[in-house]
Amino acid sequence: MKHHTRTAVSVVSPVVVACVLFLMVSSVLGQTGSGDSKSKQKFSASSIQVEPTDPGDVPMPPEFRMAVYENLIAQIEKTGKFQHVYRSGDKDAASAPDLVTLHTMAKSFTKGSQKKREVTTVSGSTSLTLAVHITDHAGQTLVDRDVQGKVRFMGENLRATYDFSKKVANIVRESF
């Protein structure tokens, strides 16, 4: 009996360890976002203007769009890469000499369930993917990436917008 238990433990524990390692690795890969093939060229700009998220054809509720927009402004301000982070429509942005503009457009959105996440830890994840474009004053694209925001285990659906904004902030850090 004892022998059987030991055998079971010795078989199960590597499987558990492998699963944990797999989840950790996939989580780290997820942080970097998709479409990372472009060369990491550095640009310089003293100010950035953030435009509201374009929902496109994706049925993204307004509270979600606003959460993305406000989180983006907060996270980009935190990077400290720009002297000014302008909101869309800000009149002062017009006089900024080397202004770049951040555009986001929804590509996919999956609403999960906080309850399911907490109970099963496998199902119920919320995710959103947005196309992120940063253009210069002349409208030339400097950054063009698809970024995914997710909330996998614990936390409210809103965390997905925070996760997305953190990843965009990382792209901004790499690019400027």
């Binding site: 054809d57 509270e63 606003m66 800000d90 002062d92 999956t110 999960g112 369930s113 659906n157």
Partner: protein, 189 residues
């Protein structure tokens, strides 16, 4: 005779002039009193205007300006502005500066046609109610512009059924909405 008459006339003229002056003074004083009383009565009425819609235990999820995210406070419509107060901190948004105001009921109403079929494909019934929060709360999202033209968004979470009165009130005060006010949802089974 002529001199005497003149002096009498002068004195009469002086007396009548004094009377007119006194009347003017009295009139001015009266106007001043009435004006001041009106000012004193109207000023507090404006400052302490009773909110037309008010709700306690409202959470500002994001976009509360100087108020921290997830702070709980009182949301009200005071004068012609949407006001949120949490402790000593306050944020105010003029109704006329709101470019879009929506509730979670609008989100449900808005999903039609092809998008409706697309939402049906969302796993775990997520497409049924495509919203950030649970069914048991209402969400009020206000998109507005500041004095400099900068675009802002604020998301409030209110007890169920409490978002629509705010939207209705703000729409009458000049706020705009891309989705008209939803009809009250039928009671849950």
């Amino acid at each position: 005779m002529s001199m005497k008459d003149l002096s009498v006339n002068v004195s009469v003229a002086t007396n009548s002039c004094r009377g007119t002056r006194a009347r003017i003074w009295a009139g001015g004083l009266f106007l001043l009193t009435v004006g001041a009383s009106l000012m004193f009565f109207s000023a507090p009425a404006r400052g302490q205007a009773a909110p037309s819609v008010a709700q306690t235990d409202v959470k500002v999820v994001i976009g509360g300006d100087k108020i921290k995210n997830n702070s709980v406070g009182t949301l009200s419509v005071v004068g012609s502005a949407l006001q949120f107060a949490a402790g000593k901190k306050k944020m105010e948004v003029e109704a006329s500066s709101i470019v879009d105001i929506s509730t979670n009921e609008d989100s449900r109403q808005d999903i039609t046609g092809a998008a409706h079929f697309a939402t049906m494909a969302i796993p775990y019934g997520g497409g049924r109610v495509l919203a950030l929060f649970s069914h048991k709360v209402d969400v009020l999202t206000a998109e507005f512009k500041d004095a400099n033209g900068g675009y802002h968004g604020t998301v409030f979470v209110l007890p169920q059924g409490q978002a629509a009165p705010f939207k209705r009130q703000l729409l009458t005060m000049g706020a705009k909405a891309s989705v008209p006010l939803a009809e009250p949802a039928p009671a849950n089974k």
